[in-house]
Symmetry: C2
Amino acid sequence: MVVVVLSKAGVYGLRAATYLAMQPSDEYVPISNIADDLRISFHFLTKVLQSLTQVNMLKSFRGPKGGVTFARPVAEISVYDVVVAIDTDSMFRECILALPGCSDQSPCPLHADWQQIRKRVRTLFKETSLADMAAQVKTKKLRLSDIGPSMLKS
Amino acid sequence: MVVVVLSKAGVYGLRAATYLAMQPSDEYVPISNIADDLRISFHFLTKVLQSLTQVNMLKSFRGPKGGVTFARPVAEISVYDVVVAIDTDSMFRECILALPGCSDQSPCPLHADWQQIRKRVRTLFKETSLADMAAQVKTKKLRLSDIGPSMLKS
DNA sequence: TTAATTTGAGACCAATTACTCTTAAATAGC
DNA sequence: GCTATTTAAGAGTAATTGGTCTCAAATTAA
Ligand code: FES
Ligand code: FES
């Protein structure tokens, strides 16, 4: 596929990051907890979250009482950071017609309009922090898994 | 992949449809011509364009002097029509976090914003006709293949 | 020190998407 | 009728993505 806003890995990563942002910031949370609560495959999620630890967004700790936690305040981490770490930023750079060298200098017939739209997506992702995401889920009881609003462990 | 604006098939279909919209509307154009000019695999493009003939957007004709041509005026066919015929409209319906049942009634934390953005994409696609696309390429000499502006057969 | 718990790394398998190839059917022109 | 040209249909293959599994390494606690 060519013009992809989010891959499955990106989706799982974002959901997990939001979930983790809802937890006390000083505790390591086992990936198995996240996977269980969000109904995501534990092994797959482990691999996805590794791309976040590799860019030092998460820190991890092995062994009993281990898990993952954010390396910096969730108010300072944006959806964009998460998505790009997992899926790269190609969606924000590449031509919607998949022509090489998307730019204002060599535009395709949709370039001007697509440019605007993807800028909006970028702005949305950049201006939404994981703290915002977590707050939405908590205060407005929005859903983060397929099991309805806040059947999460509360 | 989960949130996909355009698949490769969708991209090829759109490029080919735009190319075809640049040709005289009363002639059948062989798919091999389109494939050659746009540097797309002939067999793959054939299959992609079949989804357009199957929804009666294109009509086709076999044999010598055969090919494909639009079944109605290109001013009346939108980018949206082409994209949906090839890729379905799932991008305009499904949750960006891939949660089941995207709607204002059971929103995820990104729903309100994502709703707006995909509505814009939808509007762009719906309001851009293939005649518009063709005119852009012709009058502004924008590119439609990877070989620079209008090295198409002119 | 041993056993249990947890992430890390990567091999492996499955599913989906992208692409190719072969054969058939329709049509034109000789 | 015969041959060449073209789309139709679909089987088959390759590449990418999604997902599983195994084993190693780190850490805790008994
Ligand atoms: S979106 Fe096509 S060239 Fe930029
Ligand atoms: S975009 Fe997530 S519920 Fe609509």
